[in-house]
């Protein structure tokens, strides 16, 4: 099967620091891949390189079988890759609707925006993802929302754009149990529709529950690629990490 996205030997340096060291990975259609690693392992750098925020110093990015050049965030979104960034990439003074459609506005000719259509769609989608309060509508500023609700807006953006691959960078950090469960439901729904998810997390239990495969990153290098046949429990996964990242290699 042709991967949706593939990274081959990607290196990214910031000054003298190598944040990614010849990292390779791929995500196939309809699978959930868990990307794990300690603080500073290079997870966020890898994601940002993958979606065009950072330009790699070396290596290849291949989208649906084609090598891409001058890869950037706009091209990534056009290739149906949506990211829910760790910082959620929201503009808090703007309304929910402007945030959901940020960078992919529904347009009339000459760049004028289909405002009514956007508001209608945004209201529909925020109800779908579980915003029930009458105090919140598409015109509410994002800055007035709770952390979980802001995460919801970021996820709503990914849903609306009908992505083939959704990248979730630490999506459950600082969320309540109920909000975390909503994120899991969302991932399962996406998978059920045949789409792919790259799930980045600190919490091994969260990552283990939701993922079909695991990629372990350490100091910018991919040190393990495992699937659920290799590790049956979260504890086993933690042991692999401990042995290689903390004990074995260091």
């Amino acid at each position: 099967m042709e991967p949706i996205i593939e990274l081959k030997n990607v290196t990214k340096k910031f000054g003298g620091i190598t944040a990614l060291d010849s990292a390779s990975l791929h995500v196939d259609k309809g699978e959930v891949v868990g990307l794990i690693g300690d603080n500073g392992a290079g997870k966020s750098t890898l994601i940002k390189t993958l979606v065009g925020v950072y330009k790699p110093d070396n290596g290849e990015i291949i989208i649906k079988g084609k090598k891409v050049n001058n890869w950037n965030t706009k091209k990534a979104r056009e290739a149906k890759i949506e990211t829910v960034f760790q910082d959620r990439a929201l503009t808090p003074q703007q309304s929910i609707v402007w945030n959901i459609f940020m960078g992919k506005e529904l347009r009339h000719p000459f760049g004028f925006i289909k405002v009514k259509e956007q508001i209608k769609e945004a209201n529909k989608i925020i109800r779908e993802i579980g915003f029930t309060s009458n105090l919140i509508d598409a015109n509410s500023p994002v800055g007035n929302l709770s952390g979980g609700e802001r995460q919801g807006v970021a996820i709503a953006r990914a849903i609306y754009n009908d992505a083939d691959l959704i990248i979730l960078d630490e999506p459950t950090t600082a969320l309540s149990l109920i909000e975390t469960q909503k994120v899991f439901d969302f991932v399962n729904n996406v998978k059920a529709k045949g789409r792919s998810v790259l799930f980045i997390g600190h919490n091994i239990f969260h990552v283990f529950d939701i993922s079909d495969r695991f990629i372990i990153l350490d100091r910018g290098q991919v040190i393990h690629k495992l699937d659920k046949n290799d590790v049956k429990t979260p504890e086993e996964l933690i042991k692999v990490m401990k042995d290689t990242v903390i004990g074995g290699k260091n």
């Binding site: 503009t91 808090p92 703007q94 940020m102 960078g103 992919k104 760049g111 004028f112 007035n144």
Partner: protein
Amino acid sequence: MKAKTGLTSYLADNSRPLSSFFYFAFIMTIFFVAAPEVFFAPKFHQAVMTTLPMIIFLVIPLVFVVTMGEIDLSFASIFGFAAWVFAGSIKYLGFDPFLGLLVGIAGGAGLGIFMGCLVVYGRISSLVASLGALFLIRGFLFVVSDSKSITIIAIREHWMYPLLVGKFYGFPMQIFWAAIFVVIAYYLYHRHVFGIHVHHVGDNPDSAAQMGVNVDLTRIFCFMYCGIGAGIAGIFSTLINFTWWPTQGFGFLLLAIAGVFVGGTPTWGGVGTIFGAVFGSGVIAYMETGIVAMGWSGLWRQFFNGLIIILALLGHRFHGNRIR
């Protein structure tokens, strides 16, 4: 917590332009009461409306720049540059005035792009970069003109003159052009991808970039728009006076910036108001003449200008701080 009703929601959503309107109405009330013989005379308002459009052409694009989290001071010199291109191309190159107008505006746009590139690619703070450009362009104008003015009296005979700066029922035509400029700016700001991207970039440029917004291009376009506004203002000023002079536009520098902030656009970026800026421009334009019309010495003008700016900014504090 109760859901907002239609009226409270409207007031909350439009608090900045509404309070700018309040300041404008408050000042006008004082002027009307203090000097009724002057302020009830239509000719006085017609006179103010001769210069008010220039302030509007400068202030409205500045709202975009400030919303984007930047500042541009170079507009006061771009004003003079575009007017110099306009007057010079007519007088020395024999251009048709309409072509001169297009070339002048293009000159303003070009310098705006230069400013934008300086900020984006030179990675210089817009305050410092535009301060440098302000003196650089003005210095260039002094040198190339040898500090001499350019007179274009014959422009009165051209079809463009009555259309742009003639009179319509006693009102200067430029006020209607300014109104069209405001309506276009309103739609650009609130309904066009450019304006919405300006909001996003001013609010959080990293988020905007992560979502595929071309942050650099948005910044460059914004400075270009400021250059276009300054160019239009400069050309109107030259048309009204039949003359270009080397210091033209410099006097608008602080007034236009004051108009933005009195108009309710905060300094921190991400939000702003076009209609508020129109009332802010009105406050500035009427303050300039109103003090004297009230019988006070012109020496008080700057004092009251400063006072109203500070009071207006204190008033705008009630709209709350930046949402994060």
